[in-house]
């Protein structure tokens, strides 16, 4: 233990604004709190997780330890720094100290015909919470309302809560399970604390928010925080907000959810839900309890205990004669509708603070965000997009377009921006293609890689004479077009679902408009993951866009190459290796896949293994096409003309002809 000596403790000039505390000096705050007789509770590594427990020195904190969280999965990871709070919330919530799992409530005894009951005095030893996050503070606020904000006050909670001093910490990271932004509880700490710290590279920005907090702050060896430090702290928290996005649009959720009491999804989720109750006990706001009696064999002395209970346990709603919520689906519905809807009616707030504990600590990875988006989607499902009538539909006819820009994407691939196209092209849909022709060359089917208000973009790999001639076109030159042809990616069906996009090389071109559509309406979709492979780093298409999708647009982009150069620090190997170890619940997933047929087959198999149904794994097929409208016969595949009935098919549609040799 580090003992600081008196000179650091003298009376200081009160700071006007935020102060800066060097990282080692956080020990002084811990010591000050302990000198007041407080047990300091904070994060510490135990059993492969960052739990909350009593701490006495800085060495107890998870220095340089981060966490990775996903539905049903939690792992620690080493950080490349010395940060003490470089993680998000773990399995423990602070209710362990304000609302313990097991509390003796009453001692009762029997003396002949007389009985007596004596309430147990609550534990009032003072504690300090070090490291509570914005969502944690919101959860304490929810409990304050539940236990002390209505007609009857819970004496045990009130006594415990009154002796808590809170040192909050701003979140400088987000987990994939975080959704405080949707619940309006974070990530910014904005009240309910005494002191708040924002961790920077060398220490902490310190601000006080209560009289007691100011008293402590005055005793710390602070210097005024510089403008750069203040800006850096704010920018870090703002980046966390951007990273989380808005996974569960909350507007109207109360009404939307309660309107869906008969939704078939309740039964579906009950097939996955084990009703183990982990979500409720990990939840920082769940407050249901049960009373148990312990007696000695004489039955003279008895103690009544209160312990955490769960609405998922079969006995929870039981009376003589049976349970009011006998089916698991009833219990899941009870929990979800209580958290997100009826809590508002009872307590004037959501019962969910968006901390994500129930998502991470569900052993089978059920994600409340998915269930909410599926049961009560924020945007109503729109009917399947009607495809625009193509122009120059028959093979004898062409309209012309003019090249206004060219961009060399890779050594052999060029994007042509075309204007002067028929308006039909601008109304085309993601995944559609055009037949593209130059005089003297055979017309070729080329996917539309971008839709513009007055044109389209085509991304063409110079694989043969015709494509090389197209790649060589200069600004101002013209070419012939027919289309847009074929069907589209079923984006409508992806609304409210998690979308997985798997592609390689030039295969990103027909999927690029999908990504543009997602970015334009990001809230309509769940998690979006893009897995993209190329032969070499130089063969990756649209590199600037890839970066933007990852950094700004909330799309999880994973790249791999077959052969790496010296500058490549990413993954090497085939694209399916990027996710064949992933722990996914595919039940709410939809997948769009474009690449060589072998790769699409491997991808489909892996996805099916994660529970993604065949009807929601979509591939786009490449075949020899000349007419593009099902008349020339080249692209037949079983009962389908790929140009007319596809090129996008679900694996379920294709059945066992998909990937079969010689079809």
């Amino acid at each position: 233990m580090v003992i600081r000596t008196a000179p650091l403790r003298g009376h200081r000039q009160a700071l006007e604004g935020p102060g800066f505390l060097a990282r080692p000096d956080l020990q002084i705050l811990i010591d000050l709190l302990r000198e007041e007789g407080r047990r300091v509770i904070g994060p510490t590594v135990s059993d492969g997780a960052i739990v909350l427990d009593e701490i006495t020195t800085l060495e107890d904190l998870p220095r340089g330890v981060g966490d990775e969280q996903a539905p049903g999965r939690y792992r620690l990871r080493r950080r490349n720094d010395e940060r003490l709070f470089g993680f998000v919330v773990g399995p423990t919530s602070w209710k362990k100290w304000t609302f313990p799992a097991l509390v003796p409530l009453t001692r009762a005894s029997k003396d002949g015909h007389k009985v007596s009951f004596a309430p147990e005095p609550p534990d009032t030893a003072p504690v300090a919470f070090l490291g509570a996050r914005a969502c944690d503070l919101a959860a304490l606020g929810v409990h304050d309302t539940v236990f002390t904000g209505t007609a009857y006050v819970d004496p045990d909670y009130a006594a415990r809560r009154a002796r808590v001093f809170i040192v909050a910490v701003q979140c400088t990271n987000a987990a994939s399970t975080c959704f405080c932004t949707s619940m309006g509880t974070g990530p910014e700490v904005e009240g309910g604390h005494d002191i708040v710290l924002t961790e920077l590279d060398a220490g902490f920005l310190v601000e006080a928010d209560s009289a007691a907090g100011h008293v402590f702050m005055a005793k710390l060896p602070l210097r005024p925080a510089s403008a750069a430090e203040q800006y850096g702290a704010a920018a870090t928290v703002a980046a966390v907000r951007a990273r989380i996005g808005d996974p569960v649009p909350a507007a109207g959720l109360h009404d939307r959810l309660l309107a869906q009491l008969d939704h078939p999804r309740w039964a579906q989720v009950a097939e996955r839900c084990i009703t183990c109750g982990n979500c409720t006990l990990a939840c920082p706001t769940c407050f249901c309890t049960t009373l148990t009696q312990t007696t000695d064999l004489t039955g003279v002395d008895a103690v009544m205990y209160r312990s955490w209970d769960s609405c998922f346990s079969p006995g929870f709603a039981k009376v003589a004669g049976g349970s009011f919520r006998s089916r698991p689906r009833d219990r899941y519905r009870q929990w979800l509708t209580h958290k997100f809807a009826t809590w508002w009616d009872q307590f004037g707030s959501s019962g969910c603070v968006g901390c994500g504990r129930c998502v991470t600590w569900c052993p089978v990875g059920i994600d409340v965000r998915d269930e909410l988006n599926a049961i009560a989607p924020a945007v109503p499902l729109v009917p399947e997009t009607k495809l625009v009538e193509p122009v120059a539909a028959t093979p004898n006819d062409f309209v012309t377009a003019r090249v206004v820009a060219t961009r060399q994407e890779t050594s052999d691939t060029t994007s042509l921006t075309l204007t002067g196209t028929d308006p039909a092209f601008a109304q085309g849909s993601t995944g559609q293609f055009a037949m593209v022709a130059l005089p003297g060359f055979p017309p070729l089917p080329i996917s539309i890689s971008r839709f513009l208000p007055d044109g389209i973009e085509l991304t063409i790999r110079g694989a043969g004479p015709a494509t090389r001639a197209m790649c060589a076109l200069q600004v101002g030159e013209q070419l012939g077009l027919r289309g847009p042809l074929g069907n589209n990616w079923p984006l409508d069906r992806a609304v409210g679902r998690d979308l997985v996009i798997v592609t390689g090389g030039i295969g990103l071109a027909p999927l690029r408009p999908v990504l543009h559509a997602i970015v334009a309406g990001r809230r309509r979709f769940g998690d979006v993951k893009l897995f993209y492979g190329a032969r070499t780093p130089a063969d990756l298409l649209y590199r600037d866009e890839l970066e933007r999708w990852a950094a700004r647009d909330g799309i999880e982009v994973s790249l791999t190459v077959d052969r790496a150069g010296p500058d490549w620090t990413g993954r090497v190997g085939i694209v399916t290796h990027l996710f064949d170890q992933a722990v996914w619940d595919g039940a709410n997933m939809i997948a769009f896949v474009c690449g060589p047929e072998r790769m699409m087959q491997a991808t489909a198999t892996t996805l099916a293994g994660r529970g993604v149904p065949a009807s929601r794994i979509h591939v786009t097929l490449e075949r020899h096409m000349e007419c593009g409208i099902g008349l020339c016969g080249h692209c037949q595949m079983g009962q389908y003309f790929v140009c007319r009935d596809g090129p996008v098919f679900s694996i379920g549609q294709l059945g066992d002809i998909f990937g079969r040799e010689g079809i």
Partner: protein
């Protein structure tokens, strides 16, 4: 749990008997060192071979039955004991679920006998090991391998005070969470049956960093199929490996039984035992 709440009266006559079992659950009774004097003060122990040589043909106010029905003679004996008993309480995984010996219910009984004993003709055993409740009505059961001393005391206390024993029917997870045990499945990827297993053990296995193997047996409405699907799909485990998780001390209780039947997992997987007579599995492909 179908327990009568009527008290058993002053100093009820208690018997402890065993069927096919290891006696470990009876020993749990003897291990209640702090309570033993109080127990003999409140209960008259009339039959308890592990503890006393005195015997009683009954009747019993309370009879603790350990072990499964595994021999032809057991079939008549349990019916006779039931006739002489007011409250029949089964104790342990053998009595409540058929025990580990019920794994033979998926195998070839005659082949096992011939494989284990030099003179199989001297062995009288039934083709299946079955829980007591498959043969007679049971008033209360204490689960586990072995039973939990706390639950035993709770049951005895409930008998003397005439209240319903508070044996929670909930998942082992609830105990983990109340005790602050970090979930081994989420944090370490260890398969754990705690979600589908009845609590009562105090989550002893997860507390020591291992997965629950279900010795307390399936809890009410256990979604074993859901857990099995998750372990196979998200955990990427072969069917038989998942089946083997359920093929433990309580495998014969539904829904664990259906999981074992559907997925396999009762075989050892060693050469020669899995696919039939010796010689048929040899040879490299």
């Amino acid at each position: 749990m179908t327990t009568h709440a009527a008290p058993v009266g002053a100093r009820p006559r208690v018997g402890v008997v065993k069927f096919a079992s290891c006696d470990g659950c009876q020993l749990t009774l003897l291990d209640l060192e702090d309570e033993l004097l109080s127990i003999v003060e409140h209960f008259e122990i009339v039959d308890f071979p592990e503890a006393t040589s005195s015997r009683s043909p009954g009747p019993y106010d309370v009879l603790f039955v350990e072990g499964s029905v595994s021999e032809p003679a057991h079939l008549e004996r349990i019916v006779e004991l039931r006739r002489r008993t007011r409250y029949l309480v089964t104790i342990g995984a053998c009595a409540t679920a058929g025990g580990i010996q019920a794994l033979r219910n998926w195998g070839d009984h005659d082949a096992f006998r011939a494989g284990v004993y030099a003179h199989p003709e001297w062995i009288e055993s039934l083709a299946r090991s079955t829980p007591i409740a498959e043969h007679v009505a049971v008033d209360a059961e204490l689960r586990g391998c072995p039973i939990d001393p706390g639950q035993l005391v709770e049951l005895l206390t409930a008998l003397t005070t005439g209240r319903r024993p508070q044996l929670r029917d909930e998942s082992v997870c609830m105990e983990c969470k109340r005790r602050g045990v970090v979930c081994v499945m989420v944090s370490k990827g260890i398969p754990c049956l705690g979600q589908v297993t009845q609590t009562g053990c105090g989550a002893i296995c997860p507390r020591f960093g291992r997965g629950c193997y279900g010795c307390f047996g399936p809890r009410e409405q256990a979604n074993a199929a859901g857990l099995s699907r998750h372990l196979q799909m998200a955990g990427d485990r072969p069917r038989e490996e998942v089946g083997r998780l359920f093929a433990g001390f309580t495998a014969y209780n539904e829904p664990f039984r259906s999981m074992v039947t559907e997925l396999g997992g009762t075989r050892t997987g060693r050469t020669g035992t899995a696919t039939g007579p010796a010689g048929t599995t040899g040879g490299k492909r």
